[in-house]
């Protein structure tokens, strides 16, 4: 029964398993759908869908299967999806900018829809198709997804209408797949303490037996120290403009690190593009939140594991020149590279996580490749993905 609905769901990206499908069949045989489509809608959702982030995909699949209508809004969403995977923005000249200004909104939208119909996939760069990094009108921000919302009035609440309303659009987050995996990867970052320090809160069985025997059989409990994770972590994040495109990914990592309760200590610092005299305790890298990098190095002992998150892409001058810092307020007397080297030397274990995919780390394919190459000489660099994080954790655990 409804086998195609199962495949429809999987096509829409809802992770349905056979176990759940059999549960649904069991429920149907017990008559729990109350012989109505809306009954079936809720029943199938409650049994098959296990996260509110998939409710929207479920609605789409339900709609497709039971009505066979295609939603233009979906196509728009697809386009927005393409736009998320940005390559760094292109600089545009004033003449070009003038060209853009002559467009009015309605025309823009009409043309977007037109183009959506003809475009067949992701497209980055270039000047016509929807994508990022190019000159297309449909690449930069400004297109409002809410404007093309579809879905009927909710009057009689028939199931297909509820599905068509797609009320769970807001919960959709195809990006959330990471947090748990990140957490699991981070759990491996542990190194147990020796039994020298810590609370005595674990029963030492051998010791107890020994002591009790010495005590002529009268029970004497001996407590030992439980072994705890001894790893201390300092996380430094680039919060500069070029990182904006990766803000989702970075916040996933941030959440995962923050939730990891197994570190002995955890510190967060921020910088803008490159580390200079100051690091910051707040993502807004302004002087109010500044900490002298020298003080930072004094306070954070070399045993800390340093994880730097940044795209490592900047103008070469920011890295190699005195006074090259991107912020006007900073007049760095030493080039950024010197500071980075200082960090790399101070910490015995340090890694750099880069949200830019590894295939772009080459100066020949991407303008930031040059500085990436320079920084890779100082820090082992890994992609900011679950795999990359796992490799980084391995690197951080290695003893010398």
């Amino acid at each position: 029964m409804f086998v195609n609905f199962f495949y429809e769901l999987r096509r829409a990206g809802v992770p349905v398993s056979l176990t759940e499908w059999m549960t649904l069949m069991e429920a149907l045989s017990k008559g729990l759908a109350y012989s109505s489509l809306s009954g079936f809608y809720y029943l199938a959702r409650t049994v098959l869908v296990k996260s509110e982030t998939y409710f929207d995909s479920y609605d789409v699949a339900f709609q497709n299967y039971f009505k066979g209508i295609e939603t233009p809004a979906d196509v728009v969403e697809q386009a927005l999806e393409w736009l998320k995977k940005q390559i760094p923005p292109l600089m545009i000249s004033p003449e070009e900018r003038k060209m853009f200004q002559e467009w009015d909104l309605d025309k823009l939208r009409r043309e977007l829809e037109e183009r959506l119909r003809t475009q067949d996939g992701e497209h980055h760069g270039g000047s016509k198709w929807i994508g990022t990094g190019g000159r297309s009108r449909f690449g930069h921000g400004g297109y409002n997804p809410a404007g093309v919302r579809i879905g009927g009035e909710s009057v009689n609440r028939s199931a297909v209408k509820v599905a068509a309303e797609r009320r769970y659009r807001g919960y959709r987050s195809d990006e959330t797949l990471g947090v748990r995996q990140f957490e699991v990867a981070l759990r491996k970052l542990r190194q147990l303490t020796t039994s020298i320090d810590g609370e005595k809160d674990e029963l030492d069985l051998d010791g107890t037996i020994d002591a009790t025997c010495r005590n002529a059989g009268r029970l004497e409990l001996v407590w030992g120290r439980s072994r705890k994770n001894n790893i201390k972590v300092v996380l430094m994040m680039d919060s500069g403009g070029s990182m904006d495109s990766y803000v989702d990914l970075c916040s996933q990592l941030f959440t995962a690190v923050n939730r990891s309760t197994h570190f002995k200590d955890l510190k967060f610092y921020y910088f803008h593009n490159c580390v200079y005299e100051n690091v910051y305790v707040n993502p807004a890298c302004i002087s109010r939140y500044a900490v002298k990098t020298y003080d930072f190095l004094r306070n954070v002992d070399p045993e800390y594991r340093l994880i730097i998150v940044g795209d490592a892409s900047m103008a070469p001058s920011e890295l190699t020149m005195v006074g090259g810092a991107i912020d006007w307020t900073i007049m760095n007397n030493e080039p950024g590279l010197v500071w980075l080297e200082r960090l790399a030397k101070h910490f015995r274990h340090a890694v750099w996580l880069n949200p830019i995919p590894a295939q772009w780390w080459d100066a020949r394919v991407y303008y930031g490749g040059y500085t990436i190459t320079l920084i890779r000489k100082l820090f082992p660099m890994f992609e900011l993905t679950v795999d990359g994080l796992e490799q980084a954790v391995k690197k951080l655990k290695a003893r010398f």
Binding site: T19, T23, A27, T46, K50, S51, G142, R180, E183
Partner: protein, 287 residues
């Protein structure tokens, strides 16, 4: 024993789809996993189910240190050792040192019960995985005594989560899932009326308008939820605040808002709103 259907109770308003989910989970004998914003009545649901069906409620509160084992049983070895010291106790019977946890208690109960596993996401990452077998088979084995504890009646298991941690897939597959939506204004009015039946409509309307206005503000750290609205309405009536002041000043804001920064945000907006009513709010951002 055939369990009857859950229809909601007089002091807990349940939406149609939530009611369906509860009944599906009861009929299939699967745990019901409830997610939703804090304060949307996840925990209250279990109480309501227990009350509505006339069953005993067993609550297992999960903390960050809770282990799956704690819910099954605890073997008090230290007590047994002490008891064995002077030979005045018979310690050969290990079962007297086995203490049932909440899950064990639910399994052993003579009549069907509702078991609430509250805030499962507080526990360690692996916690839900450790309970898979027990929740699936509704039984567990005690190696110390060689006894297998099997549920006399399959308990109705309600699990709540605040989504602080993501739950493992294997666990999710075995659950029935329901997400409690934030109530629509209409539903909210009903909820308030259930809790405070004597209030005049005007007060409810004003309070709700202020409440939804606050929730619509961007940049809040923690948006107020149903339970806070209920407290606030209570505070407004007890404090004898006149209805006209509610929307304009939002008195007793501390009941609704729990974060300092949010306080500032709301007061600032409120001032801006009161001084220039004509200003157009909500500019569209293009580009």
């Amino acid at each position: 024993m055939e369990l009857q259907e859950f229809k909601g109770t007089s002091n807990y308003i349940v939406s149609e789809d939530l009611r369906n989910s509860v009944n599906v989970s009861i009929a299939l004998g699967r745990p019901l996993l409830i997610k939703g914003e804090p304060g949307t009545g996840k925990t209250m649901l279990a109480r309501s189910i227990a009350e509505g069906l006339g069953l005993r409620l067993i609550v297992w509160n999960i903390k960050s240190t809770t282990k799956a084992q704690d819910g099954l049983y605890i073997y008090d070895t230290v007590q047994r050792l002490y008891d064995s010291q002077f030979g005045d106790h018979d310690v050969s019977d290990i079962s007297q040192y086995i203490k049932m946890g909440k899950l064990g208690e639910a399994f052993l109960s003579e009549e069907p019960v509702v078991l609430l596993i509250d805030e499962i996401d507080k526990a360690d990452l692996e916690f839900p995985n450790d309970l898979l077998w027990e929740l699936d088979m509704m039984s567990f084995y005690i190696p110390e005594t060689g006894v297998t504890i099997t549920a006399k009646h399959r308990p109705i298991v309600i699990i709540t989560s605040n989504a602080e941690k993501e739950l493992p897939d294997a666990f999710l597959r075995r659950c029935i899932f329901h997400y409690i939506n934030f109530p629509e204004p209409e539903m909210m009015a009903n909820i308030i009326k259930v809790h405070h039946p004597d209030l005049e409509d005007r007060l409810i309307n004003e309070a709700m308008e202020a409440f939804y206005w606050i929730r619509s503000l961007s940049g809040l750290q923690k948006r107020p939820s149903t339970s806070e609205l209920l407290d606030w309405v209570q505070a407004l009536t007890v404090g004898g605040i006149s209805v006209d002041r509610i929307r304009k000043e939002i008195p007793l804001l501390g009941v609704l808002i729990k974060k300092n920064q949010d306080f500032d945000v709301i007061l600032k907006r409120l001032n801006a709103q009161n001084t220039s009513k004509t200003r157009v709010r909500g500019q569209t951002l293009w580009g």
